[in-house]
Amino acid sequence: MTEVLISAKGLAKNYGKKQALKPTNLEIPAGRIVGVIGANGAGKSTLLNCLLGLSDYEGDLQVMGMNPLMQRAVLMEQVCFIADVATLPRWAKVADLLDWVAGLHPKFDQAKAIARLKTTTVQLDSKIKALSKGMIVQVHLAIALAIDARILVLDEPTLGLDIVNRRGFYDAILSDFFDETRTVIITTHQVDEVEPILSHAIFIRDGAVTLDASMDVIADRFLAVDVLDTQKAEAEALRPLYGRSLLGRTTFVFDGVAPDQLKTFGEPRRVGLADLFVALAQ
């Protein structure tokens, strides 16, 4: 049995009258890379903040078997969080930063962080403000990956980075962090970019989880096919989730319709997460 790292039952959060997160049940075991996908203000950050003990909540939530609000200090030895990478103190020197983290975090392996930075162009005596965005990412990664965490939470981690640095970032997560004993949770708007590394996806819309499934299940359940206008009525009888017309054809997205049934219209294909999100929002 794989160990369950995060378990939520009826987890909810209200800001005054606004329900930022409607009662949600989640179970996330070790060994997953989960993409949390939703529009701005849909409740992604609220969910992450609850998991991290940064926000109070209603309902039952256990992270590594602990209550994030009551046992936050102990929990943070097991959980690592990277928000938008541009948030290191600009006036600090890299070496000082590493010293402080070493003083704050009992599981931080400073030697490992320094070893990692030695393979980059980052100088330990540079100030953060003198570093390029790509170098700042390296500092972030060096700190995060030198903490022997079980859960890594990434909130829009690659915002403002160029393509090369974004790829490098996910490369490092795959090669130096992720294994079957750990779980990564990512929110990002660059869905296409992270899609291939995900094992699971969670869609959040207006504070409610609208989909929580493995990529395998998603690939089996949802198919798209281009239908000629002459066969449109026939296809609509199969109750597509979504349709979009272009040049005499309509692309329909179906939920749970067998590929053989769809082959009469054309070649069925899998639906990317970004397209699926749009289709499910209809």
């Binding site: 795959l174 291939p196 094992s199 990529m215 990317g272």
Partner: protein
Amino acid sequence: MTQAWRDDQPIWRQIKDRVLSAILDGGIKEGEPLPSVRQVALDLQVNPLTVSKAYQELADDGLVERRRGLGMFVIEGARKGLSASERNTFLKEEWPVVVTRIKRLGLSAQELLKDIEGNGQ
């Protein structure tokens, strides 16, 4: 290197196809190990589970075997079996489509054979 994944097949299936081609054209020989799941996941920037699934399918097809602690190996005779099944698939699934097209275009057997022999020389 960025991978271009087609959307008509799941990614695990496309990884499986790549391994099949590698076995067929001798890129990975019989008795040789497949690269580790971790390595492939990293090289292709995909989730390791996706690679595991492709490897498991190859094992279920009897083309590779898991050796405890060592990883996956191409079994002896895999290539021969694979060529036979590829031929079979071609004759059963691809050839009928080609034949339909040949008929539609009104090409004669002589015209087609001439081309094959011409290219062969």
